[in-house]
């Protein structure tokens, strides 16, 4: 029964979702909202599983002085500091003369978010610029026909996106200038390729979903 019950639940819920898409009559029209709400509630409770697991693993790492244990200490300290500030501000906000929420502007929690978390997040995002350059440097080489085509397409698109591309080709009629070539590459062959991939993805999604709903694919339950 350990495996049959989850498979039955998957089948019933999957079928309900599919049916609800085609039947607007109540209560079918509410299925999607109900199931989504239930998932959100379960996920909200489940986040404690992850948080406690993180704390446990970090604490064990510190206790046994395994490699990189200072990072584990940093995780625990950061976690406790943020959660403490959140609780304190939340408590203060409830009993303040003008009630406020723990994350409202002006609170210590908001200060930590704006001055610690956001710069860190922006830093990671900024790394993308450098990684794009290094990945492009490796990828755009004329090793074979496909790579050469990729290189040429990248060349036209990159030049077409900056003003110098049109300056170089300013002697040509407008529709033959670099920016128009770049636009054509993005709008025609690139879009066609993306749509083809998306059609394949959609078919793969349907096939995988059908396998899971019918109970043919059971790996996610922990076995064949």
């Amino acid at each position: 029964m350990r495996r049959e019950i989850p498979i039955a639940i998957t089948f019933i819920v999957g079928l309900a979702y599919v049916i609800a898409y085609f039947i607007p009559h109540p209560p079918f029209n509410h299925f999607e909202t109900w199931f989504t709400d239930w998932f959100v509630i379960i996920a909200a409770f489940a986040i404690w599983l992850g948080a406690l697991n993180l704390l446990k693993i970090s604490a064990l790492k510190i206790a046994h002085k395994r490699s990189d244990w200072p990072f584990a200490a940093l995780i625990i300290i950061s976690f406790l500091v943020m959660i403490s500030i959140g609780f304190i501000e939340g408590y203060r906000g409830i009993y303040a003369d003008q009630p406020f929420q723990f994350r409202d502007p002006g609170t210590a929690f908001d200060w930590m978010y704006v001055n610690v978390y956001m710069p860190l997040s922006a830093t990671m995002f900024a790394l993308l610029a450098f990684f794009v350059a290094s990945a492009s440097y490796r990828a755009f080489r004329a090793r074979n026909l496909e790579a050469t085509l990729l290189l040429l397409a990248a060349f036209f698109v990159m030049l077409g996106r900056v003003p110098i591309g049109d300056i170089i080709t300013s002697w040509l009629p407008y529709k033959y200038q670099m920016s128009q070539w770049a636009a054509w590459i993005m709008n025609v062959p690139n879009t066609a390729g993306q749509r083809a991939i998306m059609i394949g993805i959609a078919l793969g999604l349907v096939s995988t979903s059908l396998r899971i709903i019918l109970g043919l694919e059971r790996s996610y339950l922990g076995g064949e």
């Binding site: 599919v18 898409y21 085609f22 039947i23 607007p24 009559h25 109540p26 029209n29 998932f39 379960i42 996920a43 489940a46 986040i47 404690w48 599983l49 992850g50 948080a51 697991n53 993180l54 693993i57 064990l60 490699s67 990189d68 990072f71 860190l120 997040s121 990671m124 995002f125 790394l127 993308l128 990684f131 794009v132 290094s134 990945a135 492009s136 490796r138 990828a139 993306q194 991939i197 998306m198 059609i199 394949g200 993805i201 078919l203 793969g204 999604l205 349907v206 096939s207 995988t208 059908l210 396998r211 899971i212 043919l216 694919e217 790996s219 996610y220 339950l221 922990g222 076995g223 064949e224």
Partner: protein
Amino acid sequence: MTVTVLRLLFTLLVSVLLFFLFPHNLTAQDDTSPDSLIVPVEEVDTAFMAQQTPQAPFNIVAKDRPNDAGEAIIVSWDLSPDDYSGGKVKEYLILRADSPEGPFEELGNTTQGLSEFSDNQAERGKQYYYKIAALNYARVNGGRTWHITSESAVAGPVHAYAQWFNTGRLNIFIGIFILSGAITYFIFASKSGKKFYIRKIAGIEEVENAVGRATEMGRSIYYVPGINDMDDVQTLASINILGRVARIAAGNDTRIDVPVSRSMVMVTAREIVKESYSKVGRPDAFQEDQVRYLTDDQFGYAAAIDGLFVREKPAAIFLIGAFFAESLIMAETGNSIGAIQIAGTAMPSQLPFFVAACDYTLIGEEMFAASAYLSREPKLLGSIKGQDVGKALFLVAIIIGVLLETFGVTLFGMEFSDIFRAR
């Protein structure tokens, strides 16, 4: 000097006296209170008002909106003859009542030229009556406005009711039916012993080699199942592949680490990896911290993964699942430490990054087929074949559609693309 000072003082005194003695308007007054805007019709010249009265709209039709849960009624009408640019009709007011005698309440309005309104406040099963009033208004001296309406005949009774089938999605229903039928047919055909040819997928063929490489180098494997939760089919597909990869790793006695971004993915992945170790007879080799939760935050997760890659230097990295902007950060870091990387995602925007940074990439449907491909189970391979039938049908439809659209040919009065559009 004394005279000058006296003159200045006198001027100042006169200015102050003038300021307080005479009325002045330092701020613009705007008599725009709502009550002052509407002038009773009787106050305006009667003959003039008669001239400004618009003709009422006609042929009011109120009917239930199709393909919904019985929450709306569509009211349509023929435009008033005075509805033209510069004409007497400025707006239409939609009035609704529970009985033909009223009282009618105003539901909303439309501008001139529009002849349809959707009443989204209708209660299912309740009867309503509708009238449409053509509204004319203007401004007269003093900034005030007058308005006058002409009401149509009453239309009704009409009630909203729910439909049992959304006919606007019939095309999708037929498509799903055909595709599911094809998949199911080939599953059963495969179960009965029929063999199907499945082309080699380079990324999947290399899974064993990647695990073997990690074993030989004495380093670990990292499996990153993406950043979405278990409600995403990509994550489910990734978890399915994880089971296969974990079994190969367990069989080779190679450590596999699975850092995850969602708690429920952690719970599921842990069960799967544990089961994989048990299946190869090594349950004692599994450690719970192999599958661990990091953070839900996108860039926090990317930073943590990068840190783990740089410090622990795995020999093989699998990036399979749903990824967003963090994909290239992870893939490039993995590349920088010299690991063999096999990636797979169904996010079209991230595929170019994986193709550029990873050794092998499973593109879209290949990721969904990977689990079946690795298991070699007949019923799962049959589903891949059914998927291909769907692809073939799409190919034929695209060719027909391109030809019809190119030559401007319509089918049953519709453009070919409309046949596939969901409503």
